[in-house]
């Protein structure tokens, strides 16, 4: 697998944060790979395992355990809408539907599909995921687009918000 030097530098920097145990660097490395490649591929798992002197299963079991890691690409822009109580009371289910409609994503239904929670829209522009509490219940409903965080999002703002990510 070809790893760009820039990513390699980040990998080495991350590993240096864990002087006691190489294995501790597995989550940071998975984050770096997902940021760079958009998802965690089989080759990535093998590469990380070799780098950290682990069995590949020790990396794979993290990918299947932690909800943020995905094994298939998401859209170019990934939307996360909060599903939990305070946001749900403030209309996050309707908000998610609106996002799906505006971004032309066929939703998996109103609920989590535990096997594959990410729905990708036509031509891979946007993808959406219902996530659990993202800790801003006072300004519900909230969502994230890529790494950006938006609070108190109304239905009317959805189109304008999506337009910022083209």
């Amino acid at each position: 697998m070809q790893i760009p030097t820039e990513l390699l530098a980040k990998v080495d920097e991350a590993i240096s944060h864990y002087p006691v145990s190489l294995r501790s660097a597995s989550l940071p490395l998975l984050h770096l790979f997902q940021e760079h490649f958009g998802y965690i591929s089989e080759e990535s798992i093998l590469w990380i395992a070799e780098k950290l002197e682990l069995q590949p299963i020790h990396v794979l079991e993290l990918v299947t355990f932690y909800p943020m890691f995905r094994r298939k690409p998401a859209g170019k822009h990934h939307i996360r809408v909060c599903r939990t109580l305070s946001c749900a009371m403030a209309g996050s289910f309707e908000l998610k539907e609106k996002f799906c409609k505006e971004a032309k994503i066929a939703c998996h239904g109103e609920d989590h599909d535990h096997g594959d929670p990410v729905s990708v829209g036509e031509n891979g522009e946007y993808s959406i995921e219902f996530v659990e509490c993202i800790a801003s219940c006072g300004s519900a409903p909230v969502c994230m687009i890529n790494d950006d965080f938006y609070e108190g999002v109304t239905q009317e703002e959805v189109a304008e918000l999506l337009a910022k990510y083209r």
Binding site: E61, P67, A140
Partner: protein, 476 residues
Amino acid sequence: MPAPQRRSPHPRERRMIFANIDREGYTPDIDCYTRHGGYEVLRKAVTMDKDAIVNEVKASGLRGRGGAGFPCGVKWGFIRRGGPKPTYLICNADESEPGTFKDRYIMHQDPHQLIEGMVISCFALDVHLAYIYIRGEFPLAAKILEQAIAEAREKGFLGKNILGTGFDLDLYVHRGAGAYICGEETGLIESLEGKRAYPRIKPPYFPAVLGLYQCPTIVNNVETLCHVRHIVDMGGAEYAKIGRPNNTGTRILCVSGDVQKPGYFEVEVGSLTMGEVINDLCGGLKPGRTLKAVIPGGSSAKVLRADEKYKIKEKGPEGEMVDKEIGIMDIRMDFDSLAAVGSMAGSGGVIVMDDTRDMVWVLNNLNAFYAHESCGQCTPCREGSLWMRKITDRILAGGGVERDPDVLKSVADNIAGKTICAFGEACSWPTQSFVIKFREEFAAKAKKPLPPPTPPEFVPETLIGRQQTPQLTTGD
């Protein structure tokens, strides 16, 4: 998009940790922090005896702000300095209890306060390697903290020979990846070791004895570590005067749900009642609505019903304990009072629900959360949380049978106390309390008669080939 909410403090607040939050012109960089007296307490702390700092924290009566409310000084007291193994400190910034949103603002707007609190704590406990475990959904906060750490290192507040004292400390940010269970301290430690976040069993794995890399480890919440800075600043005895006995200091209440002005409020612990929080701080309920229920300390806390009477014991005029009956609005918002009415202060997340809310729907939302977040290590929790979710789902979809409320409760009763970590309690308390307190709502929705135990074609007689099966009529 409304700009991130910036609000001046309410007159009934006492801001210590949040003193600089939403302050006009306050920026998260180190220059702004030092202009406002930043790292002065650290300068004072490094001249103090290490035991003296631990004793100040003990004297302050500070209780952990993450959820369990365990006395911080006692936790620190488990650490013996100078043992054969190194000691580690981890800041638990995996803020993910539904209803809680306080640490986010500290990390976004005042990251150096947390770092100063951590350096002081590490100095007192002789820690040379510390981590901030931040949840994966806070990418911006992680960047801000990394930037702040780099600044602090450059100015000599971190790294080798801090402030010329010969004390070394390395501090790193570690990002989680979306698992609620990482907020449980032993699960967090496993995750930091690069494994699945399966909580460890206690005993023997008390973090203070066998924590990170099997070494003594202290895990404290973001807010708790910030309090340490203020305790060292003002002295433990002085700090203990804030709040109420055994419930000292200030704490940040996060109010969400059906109130006019939801938000975060830093108040002296126990200085306000539930009624004052809802009506004064949050401007009351929306017009024409009445209060139905409150979850007082994060989604795991047992729900309080608005029209219920609570029996508490209170100190009378001569110091004797008198029985008293109070309504929900008179409950004091502190650790002991909320425990006395059968719930908990937890993480400080208050979720208010008015009369428009369907309690079955609310419980189903929470059950879906717990079913998703159970780590799957212990059978009662892994299976039970899913069963509870399926049952409330079925009731909502109109398929609830008469027996469902009892089944729900019995499933919950068989999780609590039978698991490795407190997630078992956390996922069963909502179900137990909602079903007991709002039984009539569950009963009204779950009305169908029980279907026959098995479809006729599967009764044992058929399976073994005899033709004596009585014809059963199925439910619907």
